[in-house]
Each structure stands twice: as C-alpha cells, then as structure tokens.
C-alpha cells in the first residue's frame, strides 16, 4: 500500500491547523493595545493639554506591542504558502 498520499494529507492538514493556531497570537496584542489606548484616554482625560505627547507615545507603544501578533501572522503565512511546497518536495 502506498502511504505517500496519506503522508501528504497529514502534512497539509498539519500546515493548515498550524496556521490557524499561529493566528491565535492575535489575541494578545489585541488585549494589550486595547489596554494601552484605554490608559492613554485616561491620561488625556486627566491632562488634556498633553494630548499630542500621549498620542504619539501610545502609537509607538501600540506598534511595538503589535509585534507578537505580526510574528504569528508571518508564521501563519509561511505555513500556508511556503511549508506545503517544502513538504510536497520532501515527499516526492
């Protein structure tokens, strides 16, 4: 019996499931950025005159907090577009 087809199927399924799992990473930055914005709004509410400073610092912090989510996204993309071809090449 030829197991190559089965192996390919398992490899593809693994890539798909892995990509889905990788994108769960989006939860963390979502919560974190939400909290950052909430705090920034608090600060602006207390001291409206420092709106500009708070906003630019908040955007920078948000973008840095987003990094982990972006890692998940890049991993997911690699699993969808790059990994299947590699596995198919390995399995012949």
């Amino acid at each position: 019996m030829d197991f190559t087809v089965l192996a390919k199927g398992i490899a593809l399924a693994g890539c798909g499931i892995g990509a889905g799992c990788a994108l769960i990473a989006g939860i963390g930055p979502g919560i974190g950025e939400g909290r950052a914005v909430a705090s920034a709004l608090d600060a602006i509410g207390r001291q409206p005159e420092c709106k500009g400073d708070v906003t630019s610092t908040m955007l920078l912090g948000c973008a840095i907090a987003e990094t982990t989510g972006i890692y998940g996204f890049v991993t997911g993309l690699l699993l969808i577009f790059v990994a299947p071809n590699t596995f198919m090449g390995l399995l012949g």
Binding site: L59, L60, A63, I64, E66, T67, I70, Y71, F73, V74, L77, F81
Partner: protein, 254 residues
C-alpha cells in the same frame, strides 16, 4: 475565486550558481527599490534647487521644514553629540516611507520583501554593536554578555540577536499584511460583483459580471489604513527604534 499571492517576481537570474550566495537574481524588489531611490533623489534635487537666504520660495520653505523636523527628531531623542546620525535616519525614513507608499500606484512595495528590511536591520545592528564597543571597549562589550550572572550568557546573546530580527519582521509583517488583505479584498469583491450582476439574465449579465465594477473605489477606503497609516507609522517606528537602540547602546554600562 482565484487569489494570487506571490512573492516578488524574478526577472533575470545568473546562469551559474555562485558559491555561498547561490543564484543572484534581479527581482521586482530590486527594480522598484531603484525606482524609489530615483524618486527620492529627484525630490531632493527638486526641493534644493536655487536656495536663497532671503525671500524664500514655498519649495524652499518645505525643504527647510523637512530638514528642521529631522534635526529635531534626532537631536531630541539622541542628544547633541549624535548630529552625524541625522542624514542616516532621514535617509532611512525617506526610503521606508516611499517604499511603503509606492504600493499606492500599483507597484509591489520593496518592503513587502523580507530581504529589504533584513538589510536595514543588519545595518542598524552593526551600528548598535559599534556604539556599544565604542562606549565600553571590546572587553567591556564582551563582558556585558555575562551580566548579571554568567549563566545568562546564552539568553543575552539571544536577546542581542532578537533586536534586528524583531525590527525586520515587524516592518515586513505590517506591510505584507496590507498586501495580502488587499489581494483578498480584490478577489472577494470580484466574486461579489459576479454574483450581483449575474442576477441580470442573458449576455448582458455575463458581460457586466466579468467587469469588476465593485473593485473601483471601495478598496481605496481600506487602503487609507493599510497603505497610508501603516506605511507612515512603520517608517516612523523603524526610525524611532533605530534612534532609541543606538542612543541606548552609546551609554556605558554601570
């Protein structure tokens, strides 16, 4: 529904395989990068033609404003002694910004290719390391890896290497996500268009269904976020991090 998400197209490849480097190729990234450089150079020449001391033109006022902003940004974040960093940071910002925004005219932005950001990150990494060695000496730099205790050395090395990787991946991921989501939106709108105009019976419906009317205008609204906001933001953040890391590296360890 056929979605086409590919990497940068390769136009030409060296026929022979070089050792270590493999095949060198001229890809879309390379061509568009040169276009970006041409645009920036042209803009610089245009802005700095016939400068005057008095009675300045609007063009010169704009140029002065840009230079002043760059000056304030670098000096404000790094201090007076880093004045020589102003051209580097400005060049980095301009390249990143124009590369990100060139996707607005339909070209593939060079920053949607990890190689571009990786190259920038390597340059920044070398500058950071150089500043650290300058501040602490070679011995002090190597000794810095063993703080606070010797067991932490592998983690310190990892965290050192994580800096360029995270910088490159952050920029790359943000721009690429825009590219991918744009492709998905265009494909989805084409399908929606076919379904909508397919309701008209006969050849008219078929003809109208084949022309993606919905693709006009609607994606432009999303491109305000994915191209304009992310593009400008990421250029700013890359420069901000560069400036921060280098300024931090120049401070000697206690």
């Amino acid at each position: 529904m056929n979605i086409d998400i590919t990497g940068a197209r390769i136009f030409w490849e060296t026929p022979i395989k070089l050792p270590v480097l493999g095949r060198l190729c001229i890809s879309e990234t390379l061509v568009v990068s040169w276009l970006v450089m041409l645009i920036i150079t042209g803009l610089c020449i245009f802005l700095t033609r016939d400068l005057k001391v008095e009675n300045i033109s609007k063009r010169q006022a704009l140029a002065e404003m840009i230079v002043e902003t760059a000056d304030n940004f670098v000096v404000g974040n790094m201090g007076e002694k880093f004045r020589y960093m102003i051209p580097f940071v400005s060049a980095l910002f301009a390249t990143s910004l124009v590369s990100n925004l060139i996707s607005l005219v339909g070209l593939r932005s060079p920053t949607a290719d990890l190689s571009t950001e990786a190259a920038w990150a390597v340059v920044v990494f070398i500058m950071i390391t150089g500043q650290k060695i300058k501040a602490n000496g070679v011995g002090g730099y190597l000794k810095g890896f063993t703080t606070p205790i010797v067991i932490m050395t592998p983690f310190n090395i990892l965290s050192e290497l994580a800096t360029p990787i995270s910088m490159a991946c952050r920029h790359f991921g943000n721009i690429l996500s825009g590219v991918v989501i744009n492709a998905l939106i265009y494909a989805a709108l084409a399908v929606a268009n076919r379904a909508l105009f397919g309701l008209i019976p006969g050849a008219v419906g078929k003809f109208l269904g084949a022309v993606p009317f919905l693709d006009v205008g609607l994606p432009a609204i999303l491109s305000v976020y994915f191209d304009w906001f992310t593009g400008v933001m990421q250029a700013f953040i890359f420069c901000m991090l560069t400036v921060m890391y280098i300024a931090n590296a120049a401070q000697p360890d206690e």
